[in-house]
Every structure is written in C-alpha cells, then in structure tokens.
Amino acid sequence: MLEIRNLHVTVDGKEILKGIDLDVAAGEVHAIMGPNGSGKSTLSYVLAGREGYEVTEGSILFNGQDLREMGVDERAAAGIFLAFQYPLEIPGVTTMTFLKTALNAQRKARGEEELDAVRFLKLVREKAKPLNVNDEMLKRALNVGYSGGEKKRAEVLQMSLLEPSLAVLDETDSGLDIDALKTVAEGVNAMRSPERSMIVITHYQRLLDYIVPDVVHVLSGGRIVKTGGKELALELEKSGYAAYGADAA
C-alpha cells in the first residue's frame, strides 16, 4: 500500500524529516508516537501533498504510484485521507454540504455516479449515527463553534463517509472525553478491513488499547528511531522517549 524510502522533507528551508523508511501493507494499522515537534504532522502533510512541504530526497509510493506527481485532491480521490490534528473551520458551509461536495467530487474523479440529495442524506445519517453526530450538528457550519471533541468526531465521520484506503489519523484522540474516545475508536475499528491501512499518530497508549496497532514506530528528530509491536507503546508509556535519545526539536 504505502512505501516510503529515505524521505527527506524541508519546510521553509528547514529540514524536518531526515530519512524516513516506512512500509504499510494493506490491512495494517501502524501507530506513530514521538515527542512534540518530532515531525509526525509533517509526515502526514507530506502524504497529503501540502504545499510548502518539499521532498528533497527519497520517494513515496502509494499502490505503486509516485505520490509526488499527484495533486492534493487527486491523492484524496485515490484514497488518501488525513484526519487533521487541527481541523479547519469553513464558515457558512454546513457540514452536510461540505460532506456532499467532498464525496461527490471524489466519486466524480473516480468516474462514479454522483449521489443525489436523497441518497446522500440516507448515507450520511447512517454513518453519523454510530459517531453520535446528530442532524443539528450536520446543519451547522463545518467545525465552526464545534468543541474540540466534536471536531474530532466530525473528522472521523468524514473518514467513514469517504472510505479511504489509507487513513492517517493525526492525534484524533486528543481532546476527547472517555466516552467520545470509545465512540471514535469504535468508529475507526469498524473501518478496519484487509483492504484498508491506517496510520494512527498519538501521544497516548490509551488509544492503542482500543485501536490495537500491528506495528508501533517511534519518530524522533525526523527519524524513525524504533519500531516494534503493540507492546512498544506500553514501554514508552513507562519510560518516555529519553531512551531513544530524543531531542524534541
């Protein structure tokens, strides 16, 4: 699914990622942990194709395709989804409208039929229910005035609707209360499938109790300094990142 080789990324002239190697096979869930400022969000932005994140060395292949040649929206239509650490507000655009525009844009790009209002409404309600997102919330402008937890739930709703083949969840657990954490984790787990891969960025082992990863990586100073199984997260929780010579910035 995803093959990253010796990836170096520069932002505003500053090298943030310094040679990342990462393979995520179809159906796998990888967790990435690491200190603040180690480059986790940077990695997610690079995968999504954000402007200003310059790949100076290395390669990223997604299903054998060179991602660098694809625009942001093309990558999305190809199945890459990023749940943002800080979701953006879109004033005046209801969540419903936004979701419909996004879904139909992707369907159109893939040569599929666009959904009409009725079919869309049915689908979105079906997806929203398990995430405790009600109609009232869907009618509000996207992320405007949403609480931190509501924003994260809305991100997971978008993922669930768009059904990506590779989902990157950047600290989707932060800001969630215990119940919401469970709801979100259940939503994510429900999407696990042999065809879908996930990269879960988190600071907390707690999330990984719910979303059990196949592989855990520690990202520090722009490099993956350790890779292990799910027990690595537990270890980190106890001993912190110091053992990996983490220099936070």
Binding site: A76, I90, G92
Partner: protein, 482 residues
C-alpha cells in the same frame, strides 16, 4: 466616448445618422450625441404625452448644468456624452434554429449554471420547440396577474394606459434632479418595467418567474417603477444569472419603489453583464440609481443584489424610511475579479419613528479588482427609536486586489441604536488545503468557501435563483486562484 463607439462599431451596427430629427422620425436610431432634439426624438418615438416630454426636457436642461460625480473609488477614462447614441429601437434578436448555432462558450456557462435546456434556448434566442410553449406560459402568467389586478408592463405601455399612476409616482422617489446619472436617465430613458399592486393584493407569483421566461434585451437607460398599494406585497427579480453581453458600454438605470402602508416590496437583482476582457478592455459601466420609499407606516422594502458583472459598478440601492415602523433591508454580494471596479452599498434614511434597517454586505475581490462598500445610515431629528444593524464583510482572494469599507453615519436623534460590524478576511491556504484533502478541486473549494461566506445573503434570494446564484459565484471566480 471612444470606447462606446468602438464597441458599437464592432457589433457592426453603426450607420451614421443621415437625416435631421425633423425629417426622419421613422429612423431606428437617434442621432449621435445628446441635444434637446434627441430627447424630443425619444419622446416622439414613444408617442408620449406633452407632460412627459416637458418632464424629460426639464431633466435634460438640468443635466446640462451638472457634472459627473467623482467621489466613488473607480477610475475610467472621461466619458464623452456627445459621442454616444441615446436611442435605438429594441432589436429583434435573430432567431436561431438550434443550440448548435450558439456560441459554445455561452452554452458552457449555461451548463455550469444548470439552466434547463429549454430555457437555454430561450436565453440564447433559439426558436423553442413545441414541448415548451413559452408564449402560452407567458399568457397564463398574464391572465393570472390580470385576475389579481396587478399591472405589469413596459414603462412605455404604462405611460399610455395608466398615465395617472405614472404621473403621480414617476420621479417621486428619485427626482429628476437627483444625481448626474439619474438626471440623464430622466431625460433619455426608454426601456424598463412598471408594476402596480393594488391594495391588499399579494402578487400571485414571483415576478422573476415571468421574467425568466420572457427574457428581453436590457436597455441602456431603463426606468423601472414599482408601486405597492396599502397592504400589498410583491417580489421582483431583475436580471439573469446567464451572462449578458451588451454593445452599450454606458448603462444608467433608475429604479423607484413605493411602498404604502403595510406594503412589502422585495427587489432582487442578479447582474452579470460583460465585465471586460482579461486586460480590462470593454465591459459595461453600470451607473445605477435605485431607491425605495417606505412611504406608508409598517411598510418594508428589501433589496437583495448579486453583482458579478460589469467593468464598473456604481450602485447604492437605498431606502427612505418615511413611514413609522417601516423597515429597510439591503443584502448584497458584490464579486469583483480581473480588472473590475465595484463601488456599491446602500443608504438607509430614517425619517419615521421606530424605523429599522439591516445591511448585510459581502464583498469578494479577486484578481486585480477593487471592491468598495460605501454606505450611509442617516437618522433624522424626529426619528425616534431607530435601529440599524450593519455588517460588512470583505473577502480577498490573492494579493493584487483590494477591498474598502466606507461607512457614513449621521444621527440627529439620540435614541438611535446603530450597530456596525466589519470584517476583512482572506481564503487561507489552510482552508483550501483542507478542502482539497477531501478531494475537492481548487476552484470548487474556492467556490464552496465563498458561497459559505455569502450564505446570509444567498438565503434572501428567491428559491429558484438561489441555486443558480451559488453556481454563478463559483463561475465569476474562475481563474482567480493558482
């Protein structure tokens, strides 16, 4: 006005006037330039009564003493008013046989706007097939209106058939001496509509519907007059989302609205005239005077406008809140792209007690355009308990455009409560990235964000136009990013 001549010539319809006024009243066109004879020619063409000719002439004489206003934030080469034509008979559009004969660019836009095929044909001047008989639809509308006692006809027909109404109300809101362009219009106006809603009648249909079906060529100096008698109600939509080309560069329309006790007038405009080419050449100069008079108690006038076209827009739909408890509203979306210049806003003149007004202006500037909101809220001495709420939001796309907000407030009564909010924002790269990460293309993302920004105003439009207007917003901003 060299530019006018150029445009006119390119359309290939300049044929120098060969005869003097007195010798050829059959001519389709008034002589070049503007003299008393031109005014007489127009009036004679329309078979107008003497009083109207006198009215026009008085305006013309007044106009000669006036100078063009220069306070708006727009720049353009000086207009030579003697180098323009002020009257030509409305041309019958050549009927085409099929859509294949229509400019593909135009069709592409119709498509994007989602205009149904039959309507596309009518708009483009293609003979409409039997499935949709526009004539009979228009007739049905006419019958329905007549049943309700509503008068809805061209201004010239109203002059002939309802002279007492025209005489009573024409110029009663925008006097002939009002401003340079309104005065010019008073002297030479030739097209426009007349609407009269009798007491207690709710107009049985959106007058927009009628218009859409019966689209006519717009005139250069239109004059529209709408009168809503006591307790009546009407919604009127002017213009069209489909792009309109016009060989006349200078447009100076006047619209007058009169609302008597408990009456309500909702006037919506979608303006999409040719804005000029990429270098900013050509394009319509739109110098309009629109004013509504809430003459009766508890009356209400609401202006909604979506302005996306024209090279220059100079336009301030206003309300005179004369009747006690009357209400004025102004909802505006003004989009400027390329080299367009917009100076638009409103005036709310509070004369009566407990009068309220609400102003929501959304200015979007892209390209190298300039977009100014200019508004006045004025509260007179005797106007107790006035309330106004004004919100002016500007959205900038790119770094070469500009937005300006110029609010004027005059209060002579201390009981007035006036609120003003203004914001200026940019579409952030982060927002665009976020939308695009969800698979939305860049232009669609811009359109989505801008539509969100305009939502409060779009909601004011008559339903059947709201969807098209949303699409129009996107189309007007094409090419503004990247």
């Amino acid at each position: 006005m060299a530019a006018v001549r150029e445009t006119v010539e390119t359309v290939g319809e300049v044929e120098k006037y060969k005869y003097g006024f007195s010798t050829d009243i059959e001519s389709e066109k008034a002589p070049l330039g503007l003299t008393e004879d031109t005014v007489r020619f127009i009036s004679a063409k329309k078979n107008e009564p003497a009083w109207l000719l006198e009215w026009r002439l008085a305006a013309f004489r007044r106009w000669l003493t006036m100078t063009e206003p220069t306070w708006a934030k727009v720049t353009y080469p000086p207009i030579d008013f003697q180098d323009a034509y002020y009257y030509s008979a409305p041309k019958q559009q050549a009927k085409l046989d099929s859509l294949d004969q229509v400019d593909p660019k135009l069709l592409e836009t119709y498509e994007k706007l989602g205009i149904p095929l039959t309507e596309q044909k009518m708009l483009a001047g293609v003979a409409v097939d039997a499935v949709f008989d526009s004539v009979s639809v228009v007739t049905t509308f006419k019958e329905k209106l007549a049943e309700a006692g509503v008068i809805f006809c061209p201004m010239s027909e109203a002059v002939a058939k309802h002279p007492e109404l025209v005489k009573k109300y024409l110029g009663s809101v925008v006097p002939t001496s009002d401003n340079f362009y309104a005065t010019l219009n008073s002297a030479v106006f030739s097209e426009g509509s007349f609407v009269y809603i009798p007491e207690g009648v709710r107009c049985p249909m959106e007058l927009s519907t009628y218009f859409r079906i019966n689209e006519k060529q717009t005139g250069q100096f239109e004059r529209t007059l709408i009168i809503a008698e006591k307790g009546s109600c009407v919604s009127y939509l002017e213009g069209c989302t489909a792009p309109q080309r016009d060989e006349n560069q200078l447009h100076a329309a006047v619209v007058e609205l009169v609302a008597l006790d408990d009456a309500e007038i909702k006037y919506s405009t979608v303006q999409n005239w040719f804005p000029g080419d990429e270098e900013g050449k050509g394009g319509v100069y739109n110098f309009v005077t629109k004013r509504g008079d809430c003459r009766g108690a508890n009356s209400k006038i609401s202006w909604t406008q979506v302005e996306t076209g024209s090279a220059i827009t100079w336009k301030y739909p206003s309300c005179i809140l004369r009747g006690d408890n009357s209400r004025g509203e102004f909802y505006s979306i003004a989009i400027s792209n390329g080299h367009q210049q917009v100076d638009s806003g409103t005036k709310m003149i509070h004369l009566g007690r407990n009068t309220t007004s609400r102003i929501i202006s959304k200015g979007i500037s892209a390209g190298k355009s300039s977009n100014t909101y200019r508004g006045l809220v004025s509260v007179h001495r005797k106007a107790e308990n006035v309330r106004n709420f004004t919100q002016c939001d500007s959205l900038l796309i790119g770094s070469k455009c500009s937005a300006h907000t110029v609010p004027y407030v005059e209060t002579k009564n201390p009981t007035a409560v006036l609120e003003h909010e203004a914001t200026t924002s940019k579409i952030s790269d982060d927002q665009l990235f976020y939308c695009m990460q969800r698979g939305i293309g860049e232009e669609e993302a811009v359109a989505l964000i801008v539509n969100g920004f305009c939502r409060d105003v779009l909601q004011q439009l008559p339903m059947e136009f709201a969807v098209e207007a949303q699409k129009l917003v996107g189309i007007s901003l094409e090419g503004s990013v990247g």
